[in-house]
């Protein structure tokens, strides 16, 4: 067992992990942060996306020990300080960008990473960026719309109802 310490959503957290413990497992099982979801075993689905030192990472594709000393941000840390939904979360609610909610944490974390590097993405850029996030419920239509809206763009024009 190795002791790891990381800053998770602004708080220092530590725990003893096996070498094979994945970051996703550490967050869920050791820290009880079950908002990060596990939807596959091959790092395809993206439900487990978190930010590690500001970069979007599939937390099932990284060992917990590799995150020792890192700054981790998860879905639980996304809301505004007063507890209200942040811009991206609010856009997902406003535009029905989620149904069962299982892929949603990963979608929101990926969207945040996208908008950080590309604040006004085109619709195609949003779709291409989501290559690593699978949703089975929404058909992506309203996820794309939510992310475009979160970027401050007029979504009426891109998504005819």
């Amino acid at each position: 067992m190795t002791k790891v310490t990381m800053t998770v959503n602004g708080k220092e957290m530590s725990g003893d992990v096996e070498g094979r413990t994945l970051l996703s497992g550490f967050l869920r099982d050791d820290l009880g942060l079950t908002g990060t979801h596990i939807g596959c075993d091959t790092s395809q689905c993206g439900a487990c996306v978190v930010h590690v030192n500001g970069v979007a990472v599939k937390s099932c594709a990284m060992f917990a020990s590799e995150a020792d000393g890192a700054e981790i941000s998860t879905i639980e840390g996304q809301a505004n300080a007063d507890g209200s939904l942040n811009v991206i979360q609010q856009a997902f609610q406003d535009h029905h960008g989620l149904q069962c909610g299982f892929c949603t944490p990963g979608m929101v974390m990926s969207a945040a990473a996208l908008l950080k590097e590309n604040p006004k993405p085109t619709e195609q850029e949003v779709r291409d960026y989501l290559e690593g996030n699978i949703c089975r419920c929404t058909g992506y239509h309203n996820i794309v719309k939510s992310i475009m809206a979160a970027s401050g763009q007029d979504v009426g024009a891109i998504a005819a109802e």
Partner: protein, 788 residues
């Protein structure tokens, strides 16, 4: 003006708050004190005799608590099947035993053999490696046609062969259909494969069993669409636990699409292990296990013939289908290719004669059951493919050929048992022709051609039978359960309402939508209504959510219970205002006496019900809580017309969906935002089937597509923005909300639309390709264009 509350409004979903902040409560998020972990050792062979299982070394591994094998379950029940089909000759289907853990033989890759319970999941997995299995491999039965050959190996030796049933519908019409086809002016034939799919909700299955010794009470937490069904099936038929000693909880569930209807072995294993070991036992499916153990879908091989007279009127439809059941009969499997498929073969058309033959076949593959649409996509796909082909052969416009044959008067008794209550198929096509801008297609095709791409336009019309289902009817058809729905409406003293529903939400938004209905009926704010679902301990016996039934069957149950509440509340209000009950009106959350200015608020009446100091105690009981069970009089019949434009790259065969437009008739719509979301998701699943999804087995029964690296799931860039419309529907005539259900339409209507578009594109490039099977992958499209 759009409404901002009640029926027809699109309030934001209240459940989104917890899902967007990471505090949802999915089954894998639940951990019970002292819980142990279960790992299931599964067969890596498709078909083998179990000669010996030696668990001694594994039992000695660190942390191992117990290892269960098939012997532990020999004395108790197997996994039951909920539907019994009677064949063409009046015989009931063959129904093999479905053991909880394989016994005697393994029958598909993924068939569970041992359940290892250990202190940690890692220890359970490690111990599985130490189990010595002695399996004698047998020839695998994979291809359905081969499976029916005499001399084929048999999946279940005691059955003698691999035929589950040979079903004819309507058998009395067979000769007349044969005659009509013989005498037809034109017959169009299509032979096709409806490819096998894996439903793939993003949350894989999870089960946690728990046993309370003090109360002799078992609890199962499970990823289910219908916890009451699981309680009944597992309790009564597998483990022998009566319902009052068994609680089933299905908390937040991450999608289902049908695959979480069924009772699975792991649920019984965890419940049984918890009771045996006196500890909570948790099992979490990996995605690869999900591919090998969640019920698969579709997998039909079909020949359809459409007969037309000299004026292009449809005179008869005849189909022959082989339907794969897989290795065992999953909960509703026998009903899918029969009663959810044969009854839809009239489609939107007044074809007078229809005959459907289905032979259901056992193979050494994962069991097949309902998946979004369930039987209706298979019916629609073949019918709409053959109509398109007929239009091409006859040189007529595909929509005009459909229009000419549309059913136009309702109610309409089809020749395949069901009676459509309402619809307007012409109006759907009229709307679609405008919204999809058919007039501009030629210009768009020219633009695509400038880019070196072939552009095709595909169309499709469909009807489905939803709102499953009238119990007395499905009982005659072989259902072993009733298919009503239930609701308890509990009004609290201060006026707030809790609705306990037998429906289950796993993405559909019931917590938002159901309060809209109550709000509309009583005139109180939606925030005063809370929805409770997913726990047998605090909901009335209900059949859950599938078959687009929540608003169509669960909704009316809630309406009926609320009507009882309102009737009782009116009696109380009449007493309070010293008026006649007949004069009491309820509007905007207040009771008034007609023709007067007397009024009493909702909250005053509800308080009086619980503090009955001034109350008609001699006439009615205190309290304000009512339950209703609603059994529908008929199915509902949503219908639609869809159009798809594709671009095909002639050099690579790659298909791109350029435009997808829908016109749906869902009857009345409670929440347009949610309905549109349901359509988007269904369309994408149907497009996935058409373009990329395929559960592939090799000849030895190895599942080649058992992860997201091998099974192609639609990604965001694979689908376009959708233009969807559901306005001006024709209300359902037999339920109090006039609703029809919207969950499956997208998946039913989209596959033929896409494939028809791809064929049209290839034709436009001079490739006379009459047929291509799904998924229309680049390699298949390219190969077809080289030949045709």
């Amino acid at each position: 003006m759009p409404k901002d509350s009640g029926i027809g409004a699109s309030p934001k979903r209240r459940e989104d708050i917890r899902f967007l902040t990471g505090v949802g409560n999915y089954t894998d998020d639940i951990n019970r004190p002292g819980q142990a972990y279960m790992h299931v050792l599964r067969s890596d062979m498709a078909h083998a005799r179990i000669k010996n299982i030696d668990t001694a070394a594994a039992m000695a591994m660190p942390g191992v608590i117990h290892i269960f094998t098939g012997d532990d379950f020999e004395a108790i029940g197997g996994i039951p099947c909920g539907w019994q089909v009677t064949d063409r000759f009046g015989e009931v289907m063959k129904e093999p035993k479905h053991p909880v853990l394989a016994h005697g033989k393994v029958r598909h890759v993924g068939d569970p053999i041992c359940a290892i319970v250990a202190e940690t999941l890692a220890e359970a997995r490690d111990a599985a490696e130490a189990i010595e299995l002695d399996l004698e491999e047998l020839p695998a039965v994979i291809n359905m046609a081969d499976a029916l050959e005499s001399g084929s190996a048999t999946v279940h030796d005691e059955l003698g062969d691999n035929l589950c049933y040979d079903w004819g519908f309507v058998e009395e019409n067979k000769e007349a259909v044969d005659e009509a086809i013989k005498n037809a002016a034109h017959v169009t034939t299509v032979e096709l494969i409806n490819n096998r799919l894996v439903p793939n909700p993003m949350e894989a299955r999870v089960a946690i069993g728990e046993y309370d010794r003090a109360g002799d009470m078992s609890t199962l937490y499970t990823t289910s669409q219908n916890p009451h069904v699981i309680r009944l099936l597992m309790g009564a038929f597998v483990l022998g636990i009566p319902e009052h000693k068994l609680r089933v909880v299905a908390p937040d569930v991450g999608g289902g699409f049908g695959s979480k209807i069924y009772h699975y072995a792991e649920e019984a294993l965890c419940t049984f292990a918890a009771k045996t070991l006196k500890r909570p036992v948790k099992w979490v499916s990996t995605r690869t296990e999900a591919f090998m153990s969640d019920a698969h879908a579709r997998d039909h091989v079909t020949k359809i013939e459409l007969a037309l007279d000299a004026d292009n009127n449809f005179t008869a439809v005849r189909t022959n289908t082989l339907a794969n059941m897989g290795a065992y009969l999953s909960t509703f499997a026998p009903s899918i290719p029969t009663w959810l498929h044969g009854t839809l073969m009239a489609g939107n058309y007044k074809t007078p004669l229809v005959y459907v033959n289905v032979r259901a076949v056992f193979t050494n593959t994962v069991p097949v059951d309902a998946y979004r649409g369930a039987g209706r996509p298979e019916a629609t796909y073949q019918l709409e493919r053959v109509i398109d082909k007929a239009a091409r052969e006859l040189g007529v416009d595909p929509f005009e050929l459909r229009r000419q044959n549309f059913v136009t008067e309702f109610p309409y008794q089809t020749p395949v048992a069901v009676e459509y209550d309402s619809g307007d198929f012409h109006r759907l096509v009229d709307k679609l022709e405008k919204s999809a801008d058919f007039g501009g297609f030629a210009a768009r095709r020219a633009e695509s051609e400038k880019k070196g791409l072939l552009r095709g336009l595909g169309v499709n019309c469909f009807i489905e039978a939803c709102g499953i289902a009238p119990s007395n009817l499905v009982g005659q058809l072989g259902a072993r359960a009733g298919l009503y729905e239930s609701a308890t409406v509990r009004v609290n003293a201060t006026g707030g309402i809790v609705v306990m529903t037998g429906s289950h939400s796993h993405g559909q938004g019931h917590e938002t939508v159901f309060p809209q209905v109550i709000s509309e009926m009583i005139g109180i704010d939606e925030s005063m209504v809370e929805i409770v679902h997913g726990d047998t301990a605090n909901t009335p016996m209900g059949m859950g959510t599938y078959g687009s039934r929540s608003i169509a069957v669960g909704g009316p149950a809630m309406v009926r219970a609320t009507e009882k509440i309102i009737n009782k509340a009116k009696k109380i209000a009449a007493h309070l205002m010293e008026a006649s009950e007949a004069d009491i009106e309820l509007k905007d959350g207040a009771f008034s006496v007609a023709g007067t200015d007397k009024s009493v608020a909702w909250g005053d009446v509800t308080l009086a019900a619980y503090v009955p100091h001034n109350y008609p105690l001699e006439d009615i009981e205190p309290g304000l809580e009512e339950t209703a069970f609603y059994d529908p009089a008929n199915f509902t019949y949503p219908a639609g017309a869809y159009a798809c434009e594709v671009e095909v790259d002639p050099d690579t065969g790659k298909v791109t969906i350029a435009k997808f437009t829908t016109a749906d008739d869902f009857g009345n719509v409670v929440n347009p935002m949610i309905v549109e979301g349901q359509v988007h998701g269904g369309l994408t699943q149907g497009i996935g089937q058409a373009l990329m999804e395929n559960a592939a087995y090799d000849e030895n029964g190895q599942l080649l597509s058992a992860s997201y690296m091998d099974y192609a799931m639609p990604r965001a860039a694979d689908v376009p923005n959708f233009t969807v419309d559901h306005t001006n529907g024709t209300p359902c005539t037999h339920n109090p909300l006039g609703v029809k259900g919207c969950g499956e339409a997208g998946a039913i209507g989209s596959t033929p639309t896409v494939v028809n578009a791809v064929l049209d594109a290839m034709y436009s490039g001079g490739h006379k390709v009459d047929h291509i099977d799904m998924p229309v992958s680049p390699s298949r499209v390219w190969a077809a264009m080289q030949k045709g």
